[in-house]
């Protein structure tokens, strides 16, 4: 198992973590969307490689969904929204980038320490995959809490979902139902977000979530 197949899947999953880090320091929405497309591309490659080495053709479907839907359609659509709203210049970060990166490293160390310890008996491939997947999930979460803009929160959420799909693909023989449902739920999630975004724009002329804080039912 510790041959070329392992090395490639290892580096692809590691690459996904790296791209997650790249997302953390993007301070413009347009470049953020580019990096997210790269993120989805890495995911598609990692899942396709899993499909190849596990000899599980259904995983190719998951890879294709990641490639077409997440790496192409969503970034393009979001870019149009961003330009339409005229917010393509900057992303405001809540915490400084240095702190965010440090926190990110801490999270990755945490997930490696946790997952590698508890999965001592599982096969090496699944271990590494789960550890990296958890890192991607936690980095996505970190990204979501450090951003205030609704579009970047959506992107953060999708990167988090990418981590989940990596985990599902790494778990050998996991039923197809789940993979399709994951992909499908992302689609639903996107529709929901689309509607929510649409309404937010309609009502506030802004997608800055911090503006939402003004309207708390209890202050009136």
């Amino acid at each position: 198992m510790h041959g070329l197949a392992f090395d490639i899947s290892h580096s692809l999953a590691g690459g996904l973590v790296l791209v997650s880090f790249m997302m953390l320091y993007q301070d413009r929405l347009t470049s953020l969307l580019n990096v997210f497309a790269l993120h989805a591309l890495m995911l598609a490659a990692a899942v396709a490689w899993q499909a190849f080495i596990q000899d599980a053709p259904h995983l190719y479907v998951t890879a294709a969904i990641a490639l077409i839907f997440k790496a192409i359609i969503i970034p393009v659509a979001l870019r149009r929204i961003v330009y339409k709203l005229g917010i393509h210049r900057e992303v405001e970060t809540v915490v400084g980038i240095g702190m965010t990166m440090l926190a990110g490293m801490g999270l990755v160390a945490l997930s490696l320490a946790l997952m590698l310890r508890v999965t001592a008996d599982a096969d090496a491939l699944a271990r590494e995959d789960l550890a990296f997947a958890l890192s991607v999930v936690l980095l996505g979460l970190l990204f979501m809490v450090t951003r205030r803009n609704a579009v970047s929160q959506v992107v953060g959420f999708m990167s988090l979902e990418n981590g989940l799909i990596l985990a599902a693909a790494g778990a050998k023989g996991m039923p197809l139902v789940v993979e399709i449902s994951v992909a499908f739920s992302v689609l639903i999630a996107f529709i929901v977000i689309g509607i929510v975004l649409f309404r937010i724009r309609e009502r506030f002329d802004s997608v800055d979530v911090s503006q939402l804080d003004v309207s708390r039912g209890e202050r009136s």
Binding site: T119, P175, R199, R203, L212
Partner: protein, 486 residues
């Protein structure tokens, strides 16, 4: 194969298919009178199917669906409250249309979403596949997100957004936990679909890798716990309750929280079947107590009537989680009973609150005063409901809280003290608020209520009866389920 399933009248299918078909039909039909009635009819149909599950022989557990002693309690409760809420919703929505808060197009959407949500919740209960259960919980969540934002006011949008983000993060954690359970099960159960079937997992849980199962449970607990509304993860709950239509507040409190709790219970049973895994009780007790105490104190600072009862839901979910965390036949019995009583009482309260806020045109506690004078039926209904939820005898909530506290005293006295303290804190806050709402100098509109009182009083009567006399077959049933929960 029973004869019933051969005829295509499988009640499980009814519980699932009726809401799906109704959702499609309701999305297409115009006119509120017709659709509101159809909504009631569909909900009644699901309820009858659920009741027939009690009587008819059960189908053998399949790869996807399962009816067992545990989930049948939840299904019947779920469809019953779904039915009464649809009755309440019909009169509530009529008023919303009159005042122009909802347009006919949104109403169609609302009814379709209502049935989709019922489908999601029923599916979560009957699923025998942990992946399918996750999908169902997510579906139910997404539909409620849409309904919370349906008024499209800034506050409603904020609530929907917050609910969506926190709910998604919770759901992401739950999925990661589900994947970990599969990874833990794979060496024993084998690859493929079997590794997700709950009955198989429980049967073979003894051989699973315990550390992995522990981590999986922590993720599942955080994930589904967010949806239960446990204290550090509860931020979405009050907003979602306050800003959506009141029928949705009623089903959120009465039903959706139960769905997430049910998912947690399923995994708790799974962990209990593995001797080396951690006992999940401690985790549940700590977060449950935290929710109880936190919500108890937060109740004093509420100025919005729907938020007040939303925090009360957090408090009661805390109590229920503590009960299941303590475990054992008696505490589990108390937890189950409390869950049923809370669902019935809290939805009855929201029925009353819905009509009250419509009449008064505000949700501010300061502007709702002297209800027993201006609207005696609603006012006294609310008084009865709050008395029940605060845990006063002779209502059923008292019975379950009493049971829980006495059984805890025997085992962990300090824990029982904390429980009593939390319940008393909440009791004080609720009485304080209630005196103003019900008995203060009347304020605001005195317009007669165009309310349907039947659902509210039906729930309260059931809670009262349960408090005075629990029929022996029901007790036996609950005891049996409590034993299953370990």
């Amino acid at each position: 194969m029973t004869p019933v399933t051969l005829l295509g009248l499988d009640p499980v299918a009814g519980v699932l298919l009726i809401p799906v078909c109704a959702a499609v039909v309701l999305a297409l039909l115009p006119g509120y009178r017709l659709t509101a009635r159809l909504n009631v009819l569909a909900s009644l149909g699901s309820f009858l199917c659920a009741v027939s599950l009690l009587i008819l022989p059960r189908p053998a557990p399949g790869a996807y669906l399962l009816v067992d002693d545990l989930n049948i309690v939840f299904i019947v409760l779920n469809t019953f409250v779904g039915f009464t809420t649809s009755l309440f919703s019909a009169s509530y929505i009529a008023h919303e249309l009159e005042t122009g808060k909802l347009t006919p197009a949104y109403l169609r959407f609302y009814h379709a979403m209502y049935q989709t949500m019922m489908f999601g919740m029923n599916l979560a209960f009957v699923s025998n596949n942990i992946g399918l259960m996750w999908v169902a919980v997510e579906l139910a969540t997404l539909t409620t997100v849409l309904m919370v934002g349906i008024y499209r006011t800034p506050a409603a949008l904020e609530a929907a957004w917050k609910y969506f983000i926190l709910g998604s993060v919770g759901i992401a954690f739950a999925l990661f936990g589900t994947i970990l359970v599969y990874v833990a099960a794979r060496p024993v159960v084998g690859e493929g679909a079997g590794g997700m079937i709950w009955t198989e997992l429980v049967a073979k849980a003894g051989g699973f890798d315990a550390p992995l199962l522990n981590v999986a449970f922590v993720f599942l607990f955080l994930g589904y716990g967010t949806k239960v509304g446990l204290a550090p993860l509860h931020a979405w709950l009050p907003d979602a309750h306050a800003e959506g239509p009141t029928p949705i507040s009623a089903v959120l409190s009465g039903l959706l929280l139960n769905v997430a709790l049910f998912a947690l219970l399923r995994f708790k049973v799974l962990l209990a079947a593995n001797a080396d895994a951690i006992a999940p009780g401690t985790l549940m007790i700590v977060l449950g107590l935290l929710s109880l105490l936190f919500a108890g104190f937060m109740l004093y600072r509420r100025r919005d009537i729907k938020r007040l009862f939303a925090y009360s839901s957090i408090e009661h979910m805390g109590i229920i989680v503590v009960a299941f965390g303590i475990g054992g036949p008696l505490a589990n019995f108390a937890g189950l009973l409390h869950m049923v009583m809370h669902s019935l009482t809290k939805s009855a309260i929201f029925f009353a609150v819905g009509h009250i806020t419509q009449i008064k045109g505000t949700q501010s506690l300061a502007k709702i005063r002297g209800l027993t004078e201006t609207h005696p039926v609603l006012g006294w209904g609310l008084v009865a409901g709050v008395a029940a939820i605060a845990g006063l005898p002779p209502f059923g909530v008292f019975t379950s809280e009493f049971l829980l506290i006495t059984s805890t005293f025997a085992r962990e006295p300090w824990l029982a003290l904390l429980l009593v303290f939390g319940v008393l804190v909440a009791f004080g806050a609720l009485t304080l608020r209630l005196t103003g709402i019900a008995f203060g100098r009347p304020r605001g509109s005195r317009a007669p209520a165009q309310a349907s009182y039947v659902p509210m009083f039906a729930h309260l009567t059931l809670v009262l009866i349960a408090g005075v006399y629990l029929p022996p077959p029901l007790v036996a049933w609950f005891q049996h389920v409590a034993k299953l929960l370990g």
